[in-house]
Protein backbone atom coordinates (compact mmCIF):
# COMPACT_ATOMS: atom_id res chain seq x y z
CA UNK A 1 0.00 0.00 0.00
CA UNK A 2 2.87 2.32 0.73
CA UNK A 3 4.21 1.74 -2.76
CA UNK A 4 0.85 2.62 -4.24
CA UNK A 5 0.77 5.88 -2.35
CA UNK A 6 4.29 6.62 -3.42
CA UNK A 7 3.53 6.14 -7.09
CA UNK A 8 0.45 8.34 -6.92
CA UNK A 9 2.47 11.06 -5.32
CA UNK A 10 5.18 10.83 -7.90
CA UNK A 11 2.53 11.16 -10.58
CA UNK A 12 0.99 14.24 -9.05
CA UNK A 13 4.35 15.81 -8.52
CA UNK A 14 5.22 15.25 -12.16
CA UNK A 15 1.91 16.84 -13.06
CA UNK A 16 2.67 19.80 -10.86
CA UNK A 17 5.91 20.34 -12.68
CA UNK A 18 4.35 20.04 -16.11
CA UNK A 19 1.57 22.42 -15.17
CA UNK A 20 4.01 24.75 -13.59
CA UNK A 21 7.53 25.47 -14.37
CA UNK A 22 9.05 22.87 -16.61
CA UNK A 23 10.13 23.37 -20.16
CA UNK A 24 8.96 19.89 -21.05
CA UNK A 25 5.79 21.15 -22.68
CA UNK A 26 6.91 23.22 -25.61
CA UNK A 27 4.24 24.46 -27.96
CA UNK A 28 3.95 22.37 -31.11
CA UNK A 29 6.70 24.16 -32.98
CA UNK A 30 8.06 23.14 -36.34
CA UNK A 31 10.52 20.54 -35.11
CA UNK A 32 13.85 19.60 -36.57
CA UNK A 33 12.71 16.11 -37.60
CA UNK A 34 10.03 17.63 -39.79
CA UNK A 35 12.70 19.60 -41.53
CA UNK A 36 14.49 16.41 -42.50
CA UNK A 37 11.55 14.99 -44.43
CA UNK A 38 10.66 18.25 -46.10
CA UNK A 39 12.85 18.26 -49.21
CA UNK A 40 11.39 14.98 -50.43
CA UNK A 41 7.76 15.74 -49.56
CA UNK A 42 7.32 19.31 -50.70
CA UNK A 43 9.31 22.16 -52.13
CA UNK A 44 8.33 24.28 -49.13
CA UNK A 45 10.70 24.37 -46.14
CA UNK A 46 9.22 22.53 -43.15
CA UNK A 47 8.85 25.64 -40.99
CA UNK A 48 6.91 27.44 -43.73
CA UNK A 49 4.83 24.36 -44.48
CA UNK A 50 3.90 24.10 -40.81
CA UNK A 51 2.37 27.58 -40.96
CA UNK A 52 0.59 26.81 -44.24
CA UNK A 53 -0.85 23.60 -42.79
CA UNK A 54 -1.95 25.37 -39.65
CA UNK A 55 -3.65 27.95 -41.82
CA UNK A 56 -2.76 30.91 -39.64
CA UNK A 57 0.31 33.11 -39.37
CA UNK A 58 0.93 33.96 -35.73
CA UNK A 59 2.66 37.24 -35.24
CA UNK A 60 3.71 39.30 -32.26
CA UNK A 61 2.94 42.98 -32.73
CA UNK A 62 2.73 46.05 -30.56
CA UNK A 63 -0.65 46.78 -29.03
CA UNK A 64 0.23 50.21 -27.70
CA UNK A 65 1.83 52.01 -30.66
CA UNK A 66 -0.75 53.87 -32.75
CA UNK A 67 -0.24 53.46 -36.52
CA UNK A 68 2.17 50.51 -36.06
CA UNK A 69 0.28 48.11 -33.88
CA UNK A 70 -2.53 49.39 -31.70
CA UNK A 71 -5.32 47.57 -29.95
CA UNK A 72 -8.51 49.53 -30.22
CA UNK A 73 -10.02 49.47 -26.72
CA UNK A 74 -13.52 49.46 -28.21
CA UNK A 75 -13.18 46.60 -30.72
CA UNK A 76 -10.30 44.70 -29.13
CA UNK A 77 -8.70 44.40 -32.58
CA UNK A 78 -5.01 45.08 -33.17
CA UNK A 79 -4.38 47.10 -36.32
CA UNK A 80 -1.62 49.13 -37.90
CA UNK A 81 1.14 49.24 -40.47
CA UNK A 82 2.98 46.28 -38.97
CA UNK A 83 -0.19 44.19 -38.84
CA UNK A 84 -0.70 44.92 -42.55
CA UNK A 85 2.87 43.81 -43.18
CA UNK A 86 2.04 40.56 -41.38
CA UNK A 87 -0.99 40.20 -43.65
CA UNK A 88 1.24 40.49 -46.72
CA UNK A 89 3.46 37.72 -45.36
CA UNK A 90 0.42 35.57 -44.58
CA UNK A 91 -0.73 36.04 -48.18
CA UNK A 92 2.64 34.83 -49.45
CA UNK A 93 2.64 31.73 -47.22
CA UNK A 94 -1.01 30.76 -46.87
CA UNK A 95 -2.50 32.60 -49.82
CA UNK A 96 -4.97 34.57 -47.71
CA UNK A 97 -4.13 37.87 -46.07
CA UNK A 98 -6.85 37.45 -43.45
CA UNK A 99 -5.14 34.46 -41.84
CA UNK A 100 -3.19 36.49 -39.32
CA UNK A 101 -3.36 36.12 -35.58
CA UNK A 102 -1.76 39.12 -33.92
CA UNK A 103 -0.91 38.99 -30.24
CA UNK A 104 0.66 41.80 -28.28
CA UNK A 105 4.32 41.62 -27.24
CA UNK A 106 6.63 44.00 -25.42
CA UNK A 107 10.35 44.25 -24.82
CA UNK A 108 10.26 41.50 -22.22
CA UNK A 109 7.97 39.05 -23.97
CA UNK A 110 8.89 39.21 -27.65
CA UNK A 111 12.10 37.12 -27.53
CA UNK A 112 10.82 34.26 -25.35
CA UNK A 113 7.54 34.13 -27.30
CA UNK A 114 9.49 33.58 -30.52
CA UNK A 115 11.74 30.95 -28.97
CA UNK A 116 8.99 28.87 -27.41
CA UNK A 117 7.00 28.84 -30.63
CA UNK A 118 4.02 30.88 -29.42
CA UNK A 119 4.44 33.14 -32.42
CA UNK A 120 6.08 32.72 -35.83
CA UNK A 121 7.42 36.23 -36.18
CA UNK A 122 7.83 39.50 -34.33
CA UNK A 123 6.87 42.62 -36.28
CA UNK A 124 6.87 45.11 -33.47
CA UNK A 125 9.16 48.11 -33.99
CA UNK A 126 12.01 45.70 -33.27
CA UNK A 127 15.37 47.38 -33.91
CA UNK A 128 17.99 45.27 -35.67
CA UNK A 129 21.27 45.03 -33.70
CA UNK A 130 24.32 42.78 -33.99
CA UNK A 131 23.69 41.17 -30.57
CA UNK A 132 20.09 40.38 -31.41
CA UNK A 133 21.04 38.88 -34.78
CA UNK A 134 22.84 36.14 -32.85
CA UNK A 135 19.54 35.18 -31.20
CA UNK A 136 17.05 35.59 -34.04
CA UNK A 137 16.85 36.02 -37.81
CA UNK A 138 16.06 39.55 -38.95
CA UNK A 139 14.70 40.56 -42.33
CA UNK A 140 16.04 43.54 -44.23
CA UNK A 141 14.89 46.79 -42.63
CA UNK A 142 11.33 47.72 -43.53
CA UNK A 143 11.31 51.06 -41.74
CA UNK A 144 13.87 53.50 -40.48
CA UNK A 145 13.29 55.96 -37.73
CA UNK A 146 15.26 58.31 -35.50
CA UNK A 147 14.93 58.76 -31.76
CA UNK A 148 13.05 61.86 -30.61
CA UNK A 149 11.96 63.58 -27.42
CA UNK A 150 8.39 64.22 -26.28
CA UNK A 151 8.04 66.87 -23.57
CA UNK A 152 5.28 68.73 -21.79
CA UNK A 153 4.48 72.08 -23.38
CA UNK A 154 4.61 73.93 -20.09
CA UNK A 155 7.99 72.50 -19.07
CA UNK A 156 10.07 75.09 -20.92
CA UNK A 157 12.41 72.49 -22.44
CA UNK A 158 13.30 73.35 -26.03
CA UNK A 159 16.17 71.02 -26.92
CA UNK A 160 18.48 68.42 -25.43
CA UNK A 161 20.81 71.22 -24.24
CA UNK A 162 18.20 72.25 -21.65
CA UNK A 163 18.17 68.79 -20.10
CA UNK A 164 21.03 69.04 -17.60
CA UNK A 165 20.13 66.89 -14.55
CA UNK A 166 16.74 66.07 -16.04
CA UNK A 167 15.27 62.58 -16.18
CA UNK A 168 14.33 60.90 -19.42
CA UNK A 169 11.97 57.95 -19.71
CA UNK A 170 12.98 55.28 -22.22
CA UNK A 171 11.70 51.82 -23.06
CA UNK A 172 13.63 48.89 -21.68
CA UNK A 173 15.86 47.41 -24.35
CA UNK A 174 15.07 50.11 -26.83
CA UNK A 175 18.27 51.44 -28.27
CA UNK A 176 17.16 54.99 -27.56
CA UNK A 177 18.94 55.22 -24.22
CA UNK A 178 22.34 54.78 -25.83
CA UNK A 179 21.41 57.17 -28.63
CA UNK A 180 20.27 59.96 -26.32
CA UNK A 181 23.22 59.40 -23.97
CA UNK A 182 25.71 59.71 -26.85
CA UNK A 183 24.08 62.94 -27.99
CA UNK A 184 24.01 64.30 -24.44
CA UNK A 185 27.70 63.50 -23.96
CA UNK A 186 28.47 65.56 -27.07
CA UNK A 187 26.48 68.47 -25.69
CA UNK A 188 28.04 68.06 -22.24
CA UNK A 189 24.64 67.47 -20.64
CA UNK A 190 24.17 65.13 -17.68
CA UNK A 191 21.06 62.96 -17.84
CA UNK A 192 19.22 60.45 -15.68
CA UNK A 193 17.22 57.62 -17.20
CA UNK A 194 14.25 55.62 -16.06
CA UNK A 195 13.48 52.45 -18.02
CA UNK A 196 9.97 51.10 -18.48
CA UNK A 197 8.57 47.89 -19.92
CA UNK A 198 5.84 49.54 -22.00
CA UNK A 199 5.26 52.88 -23.77
CA UNK A 200 2.03 53.81 -21.95
CA UNK A 201 3.93 53.58 -18.68
CA UNK A 202 6.48 56.10 -19.97
CA UNK A 203 3.69 58.41 -21.11
CA UNK A 204 2.06 58.10 -17.70
CA UNK A 205 5.41 58.86 -16.07
CA UNK A 206 5.66 61.99 -18.24
CA UNK A 207 2.12 63.01 -17.30
CA UNK A 208 2.80 62.29 -13.66
CA UNK A 209 5.94 64.42 -13.79
CA UNK A 210 8.30 61.56 -12.99
CA UNK A 211 10.25 62.14 -16.19
CA UNK A 212 10.74 65.36 -18.13
CA UNK A 213 10.88 63.67 -21.52
CA UNK A 214 9.63 60.52 -23.19
CA UNK A 215 12.25 59.33 -25.64
CA UNK A 216 11.70 56.60 -28.19
CA UNK A 217 11.59 56.41 -31.97
CA UNK A 218 9.88 59.41 -33.55
CA UNK A 219 7.02 57.56 -35.22
CA UNK A 220 6.11 55.87 -31.95
CA UNK A 221 6.19 59.22 -30.17
CA UNK A 222 3.82 60.67 -32.75
CA UNK A 223 1.12 58.35 -31.44
CA UNK A 224 1.44 59.78 -27.94
CA UNK A 225 1.31 63.52 -28.62
CA UNK A 226 -1.68 65.19 -27.01
CA UNK A 227 -2.73 68.77 -26.38
CA UNK A 228 -0.37 69.08 -23.42
CA UNK A 229 2.78 67.71 -25.06
CA UNK A 230 5.02 68.39 -28.02
CA UNK A 231 7.82 66.58 -29.89
CA UNK A 232 11.10 68.50 -29.97
CA UNK A 233 12.90 68.93 -33.28
CA UNK A 234 15.97 67.00 -32.04
CA UNK A 235 16.51 63.66 -33.77
CA UNK A 236 19.24 61.14 -33.04
CA UNK A 237 20.71 57.95 -34.49
CA UNK A 238 18.31 56.35 -36.96
CA UNK A 239 17.18 52.80 -36.08
CA UNK A 240 16.23 50.03 -38.48
CA UNK A 241 13.22 47.84 -37.83
CA UNK A 242 13.23 44.26 -39.08
CA UNK A 243 10.91 41.25 -38.97
CA UNK A 244 12.35 38.74 -36.50
CA UNK A 245 11.93 34.97 -36.66
CA UNK A 246 13.24 32.09 -34.55
CA UNK A 247 16.88 31.33 -35.33
CA UNK A 248 16.11 27.74 -36.42
CA UNK A 249 13.43 28.81 -38.87
CA UNK A 250 15.72 29.70 -41.76
CA UNK A 251 13.12 28.79 -44.36
CA UNK A 252 10.58 31.16 -42.85
CA UNK A 253 13.22 33.88 -42.54
CA UNK A 254 13.90 33.55 -46.27
CA UNK A 255 10.22 33.81 -47.21
CA UNK A 256 9.74 36.80 -44.91
CA UNK A 257 12.75 38.57 -46.34
CA UNK A 258 11.59 37.90 -49.90
CA UNK A 259 8.26 39.50 -49.10
CA UNK A 260 9.89 42.54 -47.49
CA UNK A 261 12.38 43.13 -50.32
CA UNK A 262 9.71 42.61 -52.98
CA UNK A 263 7.35 45.06 -51.28
CA UNK A 264 10.11 47.62 -51.05
CA UNK A 265 11.00 47.16 -54.73
CA UNK A 266 7.48 47.33 -56.17
CA UNK A 267 6.26 50.25 -54.11
CA UNK A 268 3.79 48.29 -51.98
CA UNK A 269 5.72 49.17 -48.84
CA UNK A 270 5.47 52.87 -49.68
CA UNK A 271 1.75 52.51 -50.26
CA UNK A 272 1.31 50.85 -46.89
CA UNK A 273 3.33 53.56 -45.19
CA UNK A 274 1.22 56.22 -46.89
CA UNK A 275 -1.96 54.40 -45.85
CA UNK A 276 -0.94 54.74 -42.21
CA UNK A 277 0.38 58.25 -42.59
CA UNK A 278 3.96 57.24 -41.92
CA UNK A 279 5.40 58.80 -45.06
Amino acid sequence: MKKFLVSIMAGVLALAFVAGCSSSTPAPAPAADKKAEAPAAAPLPADVKAIKDRGVFKVGTKADVPKFGYKDPKTGQIDGFEVDLARAIAKAIIGDNAKVEASPVNAKTRGPALDNGEIDAVIATFTITEDRKKSWNFSDPYYQDAVGLLVKKDGGLKSLKDFNDKTIGVAQSSTSKAAVQAEADKAGVKLNFLEFATYPEIKAALDAGRVQAFSVDGAILAGYVDDKSVILPDRFSPQNYGVATKLDNKGLAQVVNDVVTKMKANGEMDNLLKKWGLK
Binding site: A107, K108, G111, P112, D115, D131, R132, K134, S135, W136, Q172, S173, T175, F193, L194, E195, F196, A197, A204, A205, D207, A208, G209, R210, L247, D248
Partner: protein, 229 residues
Protein backbone atom coordinates in the same frame (compact mmCIF):
# COMPACT_ATOMS: atom_id res chain seq x y z
CA UNK B 1 19.55 24.66 -25.71
CA UNK B 2 19.90 27.73 -27.83
CA UNK B 3 18.44 29.95 -25.12
CA UNK B 4 21.42 29.10 -22.94
CA UNK B 5 24.07 29.16 -25.70
CA UNK B 6 27.62 29.59 -24.42
CA UNK B 7 28.20 32.92 -26.15
CA UNK B 8 25.23 34.30 -24.21
CA UNK B 9 26.87 33.29 -20.94
CA UNK B 10 30.08 34.93 -22.11
CA UNK B 11 28.18 38.13 -22.78
CA UNK B 12 26.72 37.87 -19.28
CA UNK B 13 30.12 37.44 -17.63
CA UNK B 14 31.43 40.33 -19.69
CA UNK B 15 28.72 42.60 -18.26
CA UNK B 16 28.86 41.16 -14.75
CA UNK B 17 29.41 44.59 -13.21
CA UNK B 18 25.89 45.63 -14.27
CA UNK B 19 24.46 42.72 -12.31
CA UNK B 20 26.81 43.55 -9.45
CA UNK B 21 25.38 47.07 -9.32
CA UNK B 22 21.91 45.57 -9.35
CA UNK B 23 22.81 43.31 -6.44
CA UNK B 24 24.11 46.27 -4.44
CA UNK B 25 20.80 48.12 -5.03
CA UNK B 26 18.78 45.06 -4.07
CA UNK B 27 20.72 44.46 -0.87
CA UNK B 28 20.89 48.10 0.24
CA UNK B 29 17.22 48.78 -0.50
CA UNK B 30 16.20 45.60 1.31
CA UNK B 31 18.35 46.49 4.32
CA UNK B 32 16.92 50.02 4.59
CA UNK B 33 13.39 48.74 4.06
CA UNK B 34 13.93 46.16 6.77
CA UNK B 35 14.90 48.91 9.21
CA UNK B 36 11.72 50.81 8.32
CA UNK B 37 9.65 47.64 8.64
CA UNK B 38 11.14 46.85 12.04
CA UNK B 39 10.59 50.36 13.34
CA UNK B 40 6.97 50.46 12.16
CA UNK B 41 6.35 46.87 13.17
CA UNK B 42 7.59 47.28 16.72
CA UNK B 43 5.75 50.58 17.13
CA UNK B 44 2.42 49.30 15.83
CA UNK B 45 2.89 45.89 17.44
CA UNK B 46 3.24 47.48 20.87
CA UNK B 47 0.35 49.83 20.11
CA UNK B 48 -1.80 46.81 19.30
CA UNK B 49 -1.25 45.36 22.77
CA UNK B 50 -1.40 48.62 24.70
CA UNK B 51 -4.16 49.11 27.25
CA UNK B 52 -5.47 52.13 25.31
CA UNK B 53 -8.27 51.64 22.83
CA UNK B 54 -7.08 54.50 20.58
CA UNK B 55 -3.65 53.03 19.88
CA UNK B 56 -5.15 49.61 19.31
CA UNK B 57 -7.54 51.05 16.72
CA UNK B 58 -4.81 52.94 14.88
CA UNK B 59 -2.63 49.86 14.78
CA UNK B 60 -5.56 47.73 13.61
CA UNK B 61 -6.34 50.19 10.79
CA UNK B 62 -2.72 50.27 9.57
CA UNK B 63 -2.41 46.50 9.49
CA UNK B 64 -5.84 46.07 7.95
CA UNK B 65 -5.35 48.52 5.08
CA UNK B 66 -1.79 47.49 4.22
CA UNK B 67 -2.29 43.73 4.49
CA UNK B 68 -5.44 43.79 2.39
CA UNK B 69 -4.06 45.63 -0.64
CA UNK B 70 -1.35 44.36 -2.99
CA UNK B 71 2.21 45.64 -2.70
CA UNK B 72 2.25 46.11 -6.47
CA UNK B 73 -0.75 48.42 -6.35
CA UNK B 74 0.78 50.34 -3.43
CA UNK B 75 4.03 50.81 -5.31
CA UNK B 76 2.25 51.91 -8.50
CA UNK B 77 0.31 54.38 -6.37
CA UNK B 78 3.51 55.81 -4.89
CA UNK B 79 5.16 55.99 -8.29
CA UNK B 80 2.43 57.49 -10.43
CA UNK B 81 -0.17 59.05 -8.16
CA UNK B 82 1.97 61.04 -5.72
CA UNK B 83 2.72 63.41 -8.59
CA UNK B 84 -0.72 64.75 -7.79
CA UNK B 85 0.94 66.57 -4.88
CA UNK B 86 4.18 67.15 -6.80
CA UNK B 87 5.92 64.56 -4.63
CA UNK B 88 8.50 62.54 -6.53
CA UNK B 89 10.44 60.11 -4.36
CA UNK B 90 13.08 58.24 -6.37
CA UNK B 91 12.34 54.61 -7.23
CA UNK B 92 14.77 53.57 -4.53
CA UNK B 93 12.96 55.52 -1.83
CA UNK B 94 9.65 54.18 -3.05
CA UNK B 95 11.21 50.76 -2.59
CA UNK B 96 12.40 51.54 0.93
CA UNK B 97 9.16 53.18 2.04
CA UNK B 98 6.81 50.87 0.09
CA UNK B 99 8.48 47.65 1.20
CA UNK B 100 8.99 49.06 4.69
CA UNK B 101 5.34 49.94 5.28
CA UNK B 102 4.12 46.74 3.62
CA UNK B 103 6.27 44.39 5.67
CA UNK B 104 5.93 46.66 8.69
CA UNK B 105 2.28 45.60 8.86
CA UNK B 106 3.33 41.94 8.95
CA UNK B 107 6.06 42.62 11.51
CA UNK B 108 3.45 44.42 13.66
CA UNK B 109 1.35 41.25 13.70
CA UNK B 110 4.40 39.18 14.58
CA UNK B 111 5.32 41.54 17.42
CA UNK B 112 1.74 41.62 18.69
CA UNK B 113 1.55 37.82 18.72
CA UNK B 114 4.93 37.65 20.43
CA UNK B 115 3.89 40.04 23.19
CA UNK B 116 0.58 38.28 23.67
CA UNK B 117 2.39 34.95 24.01
CA UNK B 118 3.91 36.25 27.24
CA UNK B 119 1.55 35.60 30.07
CA UNK B 120 -0.50 38.59 31.20
CA UNK B 121 0.43 37.79 34.78
CA UNK B 122 4.00 38.83 34.08
CA UNK B 123 2.95 42.32 33.05
CA UNK B 124 0.72 42.60 36.11
CA UNK B 125 3.45 41.31 38.40
CA UNK B 126 5.93 43.80 36.96
CA UNK B 127 3.47 46.66 37.36
CA UNK B 128 2.80 45.66 40.95
CA UNK B 129 6.55 45.75 41.57
CA UNK B 130 6.59 49.41 40.63
CA UNK B 131 7.57 49.14 36.95
CA UNK B 132 5.97 51.68 34.66
CA UNK B 133 4.11 50.30 31.63
CA UNK B 134 6.97 51.08 29.25
CA UNK B 135 9.52 49.84 31.78
CA UNK B 136 7.70 46.54 32.19
CA UNK B 137 7.44 46.25 28.42
CA UNK B 138 11.14 46.93 27.92
CA UNK B 139 12.61 44.93 30.77
CA UNK B 140 10.16 42.09 31.28
CA UNK B 141 7.88 41.37 28.34
CA UNK B 142 9.91 42.25 25.22
CA UNK B 143 13.10 40.33 26.17
CA UNK B 144 10.99 37.17 26.43
CA UNK B 145 8.84 37.97 23.42
CA UNK B 146 11.87 38.50 21.19
CA UNK B 147 12.61 34.78 21.32
CA UNK B 148 9.20 33.99 19.86
CA UNK B 149 9.33 36.93 17.47
CA UNK B 150 12.71 36.23 15.91
CA UNK B 151 11.87 33.24 13.67
CA UNK B 152 8.85 34.79 11.92
CA UNK B 153 10.78 38.05 11.75
CA UNK B 154 13.55 36.33 9.83
CA UNK B 155 10.94 34.92 7.48
CA UNK B 156 9.69 38.45 6.91
CA UNK B 157 13.23 39.47 5.97
CA UNK B 158 13.28 36.69 3.35
CA UNK B 159 9.90 37.79 2.02
CA UNK B 160 11.13 41.37 1.89
CA UNK B 161 14.21 40.48 -0.16
CA UNK B 162 12.05 38.54 -2.59
CA UNK B 163 9.52 41.35 -2.85
CA UNK B 164 12.29 43.88 -3.48
CA UNK B 165 12.20 42.60 -7.06
CA UNK B 166 9.20 44.89 -7.40
CA UNK B 167 11.72 47.71 -7.89
CA UNK B 168 12.13 46.37 -11.42
CA UNK B 169 8.62 47.59 -12.26
CA UNK B 170 9.50 51.19 -11.39
CA UNK B 171 12.96 51.32 -12.94
CA UNK B 172 14.80 50.78 -9.67
CA UNK B 173 17.95 49.39 -11.32
CA UNK B 174 17.93 46.48 -8.88
CA UNK B 175 18.99 42.92 -9.68
CA UNK B 176 15.71 42.01 -11.36
CA UNK B 177 15.67 45.25 -13.33
CA UNK B 178 19.18 44.56 -14.60
CA UNK B 179 18.14 41.11 -15.74
CA UNK B 180 15.08 42.55 -17.52
CA UNK B 181 16.94 45.41 -19.08
CA UNK B 182 20.05 43.53 -20.12
CA UNK B 183 18.21 40.58 -21.57
CA UNK B 184 15.74 42.75 -23.45
CA UNK B 185 18.60 44.81 -24.89
CA UNK B 186 20.71 41.85 -25.96
CA UNK B 187 18.04 39.21 -26.31
CA UNK B 188 19.94 36.78 -24.06
CA UNK B 189 17.28 36.30 -21.42
CA UNK B 190 18.13 32.64 -20.67
CA UNK B 191 21.38 33.12 -18.77
CA UNK B 192 20.26 36.44 -17.28
CA UNK B 193 17.21 35.11 -15.46
CA UNK B 194 18.87 31.87 -14.44
CA UNK B 195 21.85 33.70 -12.96
CA UNK B 196 19.62 36.14 -11.13
CA UNK B 197 17.53 33.31 -9.73
CA UNK B 198 20.66 31.71 -8.29
CA UNK B 199 21.66 35.01 -6.65
CA UNK B 200 18.24 35.50 -5.06
CA UNK B 201 18.34 31.93 -3.83
CA UNK B 202 21.76 32.47 -2.27
CA UNK B 203 20.46 35.58 -0.51
CA UNK B 204 17.28 33.95 0.79
CA UNK B 205 18.05 30.32 1.48
CA UNK B 206 20.55 30.83 4.34
CA UNK B 207 18.16 33.24 6.05
CA UNK B 208 15.21 30.89 5.61
CA UNK B 209 17.25 27.99 7.00
CA UNK B 210 18.31 30.10 9.96
CA UNK B 211 14.66 30.97 10.61
CA UNK B 212 13.75 27.30 10.67
CA UNK B 213 16.55 26.52 13.12
CA UNK B 214 15.32 29.29 15.41
CA UNK B 215 11.77 28.02 15.09
CA UNK B 216 12.80 24.52 16.09
CA UNK B 217 14.69 25.88 19.08
CA UNK B 218 11.75 27.95 20.27
CA UNK B 219 9.47 24.94 19.90
CA UNK B 220 11.89 22.82 21.93
CA UNK B 221 12.50 25.33 24.66
CA UNK B 222 8.91 26.32 25.10
CA UNK B 223 7.73 22.74 24.84
CA UNK B 224 5.49 23.44 21.91
CA UNK B 225 3.45 25.76 24.08
CA UNK B 226 3.78 28.56 21.57
CA UNK B 227 3.44 27.98 17.89
CA UNK B 228 5.27 30.69 16.01
CA UNK B 229 3.07 32.23 13.35
Amino acid sequence: MQRFAWFKWQALFHDWHLFGQGLVKTVSTSALALVVALALGILFGIMATAPWRGTRLISRAYVDVIQNTPLFTQVMFFFYALGHWKIYPTPLWIGVIGLGTYHGAYVAEVVRAGIQSIHRGQMEAALSQGFTYSGAMRHVVLPQAIQVILPPLTNQAVALIKNSAILATISGYDLMHMADSWSAEKGYYGPAYLAVWVVYFLLCFPLATYARKLEARVARERGGEVKAA
